[in-house]
Amino acid sequence: MDFTAVLAQIKPKLGCVADNLALIEERIQLAIAAKADLVVFPELALTGYFLKDLVPEVALRLDSPEIRRLVELSRQISIVVGFVEETSDYRFFNTALYLEDGAIRHLHRKVYLPTYGLFDEQRYLARGEQFRAFDTKLGRMGMLICEDMWHLSASYILAMDGATTLICLSSSPGRGIAGETLSSANAWQQLTSTTAMFLNCRVLYCNRVGYEDGVNFWGGSEYVAPSGASLKRAMILEEDSVSALVDEGSLRRERIFSPMLRDENLFVTMQELSRIEQERGL
């Protein structure tokens, strides 16, 4: 079905859950007023990114008042939001929730926690272990959190699991100032476009902005059609909001023109992956 998605390109405050919740609520109300069907927030929208030892302090359980408040708001609009989740066995995850009709429709825990260069996530966070597509009233979706998308298998699994919309929540730092745009922005734009094109899926990419300890987050949230074309893109480095009309017709037409996904041979893939698994002695 056709639907309108708002990508809320916000600037969270580091470690300030109450302030960020207020900011998120404000954007939700704007999206409701604009009659959008879905509003997407960035990775760790409720907390900010370079949390380090703050992780346990800002973590929320699924039954916390903050999450319950967002679940309640999802009676009026579907919501995708990122935060630090604390589980009953005291693990902490970089988690994304899909909220719909007053319920948690799906929960994705970031699988690929970057721990290199300026990233240090695995020091503080536990790893998720699943990529699962899920049904919503807006169609079948899959969620990815930032680095997840840099692993081809993640998007591939979601597409093979039937997702037609891939939602990526991001806190991507900007770096590389030699080219037309930041080289990290350029790399992401190639990635979202190629992923959409290879898998005949649409991509909703929501990145944050602002600075934390001198690191900038570059924004550039975008709606990429199944053709790979970027149809809506938010400003670079500035708070912004973009609204995208996600239409079923273009998905259908793309899947007729370029039926790569139809022709994808899961049997061959599984057979070869199993062989590799055996040969590696996993």
Binding site: L14, K52, G174, I177, A178, E180, N216
Partner: protein, 273 residues
């Protein structure tokens, strides 16, 4: 030089945004910085003026009696060009009062003292004006250790610490820093006729090329030699970077507890901002 060439529009946007965001999130509106008449502080004051509005930027020129008079002329020119508040606070009385007690002090001690005298003035004005002190050290000098610890290296925020000198030149030109300042020979101006390149023994172009390949691209020594750089030069610069590393770190703390500051007590500086 391709890797050192910058998109000046993009870089300007990132750095202006950085100063605006990081100053405002602390809850202040203003910045203060030392203006030497050289290109690095000139670029920072241009960035700050654009980020905060020139009325919120206070530039202080702090000459010593042996400083080249041209430096003060250039500092004033830069302040006028970007419209910021400008004042001159000579450091001769304080520095001389101290060295009257140590008349045999060499140039290095005197230079360090001057740099630290200027630092105390800037941080005093930080409290006076409710303004953050902006740093003006570039990546080349930070990597080489060509600066005074707790002197010119001290600041609250440094917008240009990730830019090599050759990149400073590009951005300064693009942002309209007066040509006299962009084109003159870089100098620490501690004594008459001093130039950085003469004192260092190599040009900024040479060393930036090497540092970029060594630090940013992480080329091995063999790979660096294969690009035509002399092995002795590589060795000299590698040692400079290594031996000055203490200047780029917090003081070392002896660990005795379970949570030692900066080792296993880790928070971003923007904690709660």
């Amino acid at each position: 030089m391709t890797g050192l060439t910058v998109n000046t529009d993009l870089l300007r946007q990132v750095l202006v945004g950085f100063v605006r965001d990081e100053v405002h999130k602390v809850g202040v509106k203003k910045a203060v910085l030392g203006l030497s008449g050289g290109i690095d502080s000139a670029l920072v004051v241009f960035i700050a003026a654009e980020a905060l509005g020139p009325e919120n930027v206070h530039a202080i020129c702090m000459p010593y009696k042996s400083s080249n008079p041209e430096s003060e002329v250039h500092a004033r020119l830069v302040a006028q060009a970007c419209g910021v508040n400008y004042s001159v606070i000579p450091i001769t009385p304080m520095v001389d009062a101290y060295f009257d007690m140590f008349p045999d002090a060499d140039n290095m001690r005197r230079g360090n003292k001057m740099a630290r005298e200027r630092m105390t003035i800037l941080f005093d004005h930080s409290a006076l004006l409710s303004a953050l002190v902006l740093g003006t050290s570039n990546k080349t000098e930070l990597l080489l250790g060509y600066g005074t610890l707790y002197g010119d290296m001290a600041s609250a925020l440094n917008p240009i610490g990730d830019l090599y000198k050759t990149q400073i030149w590009q951005l300064s030109e693009a942002m309209g820093v007066p040509a006299e300042v962009v084109e003159k020979q870089p100098s620490a101006d501690l004594w008459a006729g001093q130039t950085d390149e003469e004192e260092l023994g190599f040009s900024y172009c040479q060393v930036d090329e090497l540092l970029y390949r060594m630090v940013d691209l992480r080329l091995t020594s063999e790979e660096l030699i294969a690009t035509g750089i002399a092995p002795e030069f590589i060795d000299t610069i590698y040692k400079k970077v290594q031996n000055s590393h203490f200047k780029r770190r917090m003081p070392v703390i002896a660990k005795v507890s379970n949570r030692t500051i900066d080792r296993d007590f880790r928070y971003s500086r923007d904690w709660g901002k």
